[in-house]
C-alpha cells in the first residue's frame, strides 16, 4: 500500500497507515543524506516547482534540496521576483508552470485552503508547504519523525505545544498527526491565543506552563509571531517570557529526558532561552536535517505517479 491521492494537502487528510509509510520512507531517504554521494537517480526527468507566496528560508531550501537529492529538476518562484507582483493570480501562475511541464507543485501561501484550491484545478500533484494558519504538514511530519527517531515511538507519548496556538499551522498539523499516531497532545499559552474549539481536536488545554510541563516527554515551542503584537491578544514580550518562555530553570525542573523542539525561526530570549535552544536536550538542528528526508519521501511518493487528467475533479 502507498499514498493513493494525487496531492498531499495536510495531515487532516492522511491516515495513520499513510503517515507510517511516509516516516518509513524518510528513514531510507535520511541514509542517502549521510553518504558521500548524496543523490539518487529516482526522479530523473521529473520537474518540481516551488511556488512560495510567503517568505521562507528553511522550508523552501529544504524542498529545493530534497528535489535535487532525488535528481528532479527544480525551479523556485517567490512572490517578490515574479509576475505575481504584476497581479497574476495563483491559478494562472500555477497553470503557466504546469504547461511548461511540472510534475509536482509545492505551494506556500498565506490563505488557508490555497493548496486545496490549486489541487482541484491543476493536474500536477500539489504539495502543501503551509497555507495560512491552517496547515503545515511537512513540518509536523518532520517533528514526528524526529520524536520517533529520538524516543523510538509516538504512541503513548505526552507532547506539549507551547505558544500562539490560534495562529499556528504548525500546532494544528502536529495535533492532527500526533493524535492519529496515538500520542497525547496538550497545549499551553495565553488563553487569548488558544482557540476555544481546540479541545474538540482531543487536546488538553493548560494556561500554566509549569503545570503543563509535568510529565511531558516532548515540548514543542512555537515561534512568537511578532507581527501579531498589535492585535491586542498578546501580553507584553516581557510578560510572555516570564509566563511562557522556556528557560534553564524550567528545563531543569522538567528533567533530563524532556525533548526540546522548535520549528524555527527562533526568537532567542523570548519563547526560548539560548541555553535551552543549544542544550543537549534540544533537537532543533536535527529537525532541520530530518526535514529534507521527509520532503524527499513525499516528493518520491507523489512524483513517481503517472499523472492523468482524470484525476481532476
Amino acid at each position: 500500500m502507498t499514498l493513493t491521492k494525487k496531492d498531499f494537502l495536510g495531515l487532516y487528510d492522511t491516515d495513520a497507515e499513510e503517515i507510517e509509510e511516509i516516516l518509513n520512507t524518510a528513514r531510507a531517504m535520511k541514509d542517502i543524506l549521510t553518504r558521500s554521494v548524496k543523490k539518487v537517480p529516482t526522479l530523473r526527468g521529473k520537474t518540481v516547482i516551488n511556488l512560495f507566496y510567503e517568505p521562507s528560508t528553511r522550508t523552501k531550501f529544504s524542498f529545493n534540496l530534497a528535489a535535487k537529492r532525488l535528481s528532479a529538476d527544480v525551479m523556485s518562484i517567490s512572490k517578490s521576483t515574479s509576475s505575481i507582483t504584476k497581479g497574476e493570480s495563483l491559478l494562472d501562475t500555477a497553470k503557466t508552470m504546469e504547461v511548461m511541464g511540472s510534475d509536482v507543485v509545492v505551494v506556500r501561501h498565506s490563505s488557508p485552503g490555497a493548496a486545496k484550491f490549486l489541487a482541484e484545478n491543476i493536474s500536477a500533484a500539489v504539495l502543501n508547504a503551509g497555507d495560512g494558519a491552517h496547515s503545515h504538514p511537512t513540518q509536523a511530519l518532520l517533528d514526528m519523525y524526529t520524536i520517533r527517531e529520538k524516543l523510538g515511538r509516538l504512541a503513548g507519548l505526552k507532547v506539549l505545544i507551547v505558544g500562539d496556538i490560534a495562529h499556528s499551522r504548525v500546532a494544528r498539523s502536529n495535533i492532527w498527526g500526533l493524535k492519529k499516531m496515538g500520542a497525547e497532545v496538550s497545549v499551553v499559552g495565553p488563553l487569548t491565543l488558544i482557540p476555544t474549539e481546540i479541545e474538540k481536536m482531543g487536546v488538553k488545554v493548560y494556561s500554566n506552563l509549569d503545570k503543563a510541563l509535568e510529565g511531558a516527554d516532548v515540548v514543542n515551542i512555537l515561534r512568537i509571531q511578532m507581527e501579531r503584537q498589535e492585535s491586542g491578544l498578546f501580553p507584553s514580550i516581557r510578560e510572555y517570557r516570564e509566563l511562557y518562555g522556556m528557560n534553564k530553570e524550567r528545563l531543569k525542573k522538567a528533567g533530563k529526558d524532556l525533548l526540546v523542539m522548535h520549528p524555527g525561526p527562533m526568537n532567542r530570549g523570548i519563547e526560548i532561552e539560548s541555553s535551552v535552544a543549544d542544550s543537549s536536550q534540544s533537537v532543533i538542528t536535527e529537525q532541520v536535517k530530518n526535514g529534507v528526508a521527509i520532503r524527499m519521501a513525499l516528493l518520491y511518493l507523489l512524483a513517481g505517479r503517472e499523472i492523468k487528467n482524470e484525476d481532476i475533479d
Binding site: L3, A28, K39, V40, G304, R305
Partner: protein, 183 residues
C-alpha cells in the same frame, strides 16, 4: 504463491537448495582464492537470507566471518515512471565501506537483468568496489541487458508465461524452488 498461478513443477527441494548453496560457497572461495576483502551483499528481499546462508557456509568451510550487507534497489529502478503506484522504499544496510572490496551480489532469480543493473548503480554510489561478482539461485534466461552471473544454483530454461518462485524458510516458512504457470 502468486495469485492465479499453479505449481507446474518442483525444481529443487530443501536439501537440493542446501547443496547448491554449499557449492556456490566453495566456488566463491575458489574464484577469490579465499576470503580476503570479500563481502556479500544481498538484494532485498530474497537475496538477503541467501547472502546470510552463504556467509554461514563460508564460516563452516574457512572459519572466517565474511561481512554481509543489505541492498535496496527501489530508488534505482528504471520503471518508476511506468508503475502506477510507487513501490515501498526500504533501507540499504551496509555498515562498512565497500571501496576496494570484492563484492558478491546475491539474489534469488536472474531474469531480465534490470534488478542487477539497478544494484550495480546503487553499489557504485556507495563506494568503488575493486570487483563486483554476481551469485544467483536460479538463472531463468530472457535477459534484456548484457548481464551474466558468476555463480548459479540452477540454470532453468523457462517460457515468459512461467514464474520462478524461490521460497526461503526465513521469509516463506519453507525452502523450495517452484516453477509456476498461469491457471
Amino acid at each position: 504463491m502468486e495469485e492465479g498461478m499453479k505449481v507446474k513443477k518442483e525444481i529443487m527441494d530443501s536439501s537440493g537448495m542446501d547443496r547448491a548453496i554449499t557449492r556456490i560457497a566453495h566456488e566463491i572461495l575458489e574464484k577469490n582464492k579465499g576470503t580476503d576483502d570479500l563481502v556479500l551483499i544481498g538484494i532485498r528481499t530474497r537475496g538477503v537470507p541467501l547472502a546470510n546462508r552463504l556467509a554461514g557456509k563460508i564460516k563452516k568451510i574457512e572459519d572466517v566471518e565474511v561481512k554481509t550487507g543489505i541492498l535496496d534497489i527501489t530508488l534505482y529502478r528504471d520503471d518508476l515512471s511506468t508503475v502506477s503506484q510507487q513501490p515501498i522504499v526500504h533501507r540499504t544496510e551496509i555498515p562498512f565501506d565497500i571501496s576496494n572490496k570484492k563484492v558478491v551480489l546475491v539474489d534469488d532469480v536472474l531474469f531480465t537483468g534490470r534488478t542487477v543493473r539497478a544494484a550495480l548503480d546503487a553499489l557504485i554510489d556507495l563506494g568503488r568496489p575493486r570487483q563486483i561478482q554476481l551469485a544467483i539461485m536460479v538463472d531463468r534466461g530472457h535477459r534484456e541487458l548484457p548481464i551474466r552471473a558468476d555463480f548459479v544454483g540452477k540454470n532453468l530454461p523457462t517460457s515468459l508465461s512461467e514464474v520462478v518462485s524461490v521460497n526461503l524458510k526465513e521469509i516463506d516458512g519453507e525452502d523450495s524452488i517452484l516453477l509456476l504457470e498461469k491457471e
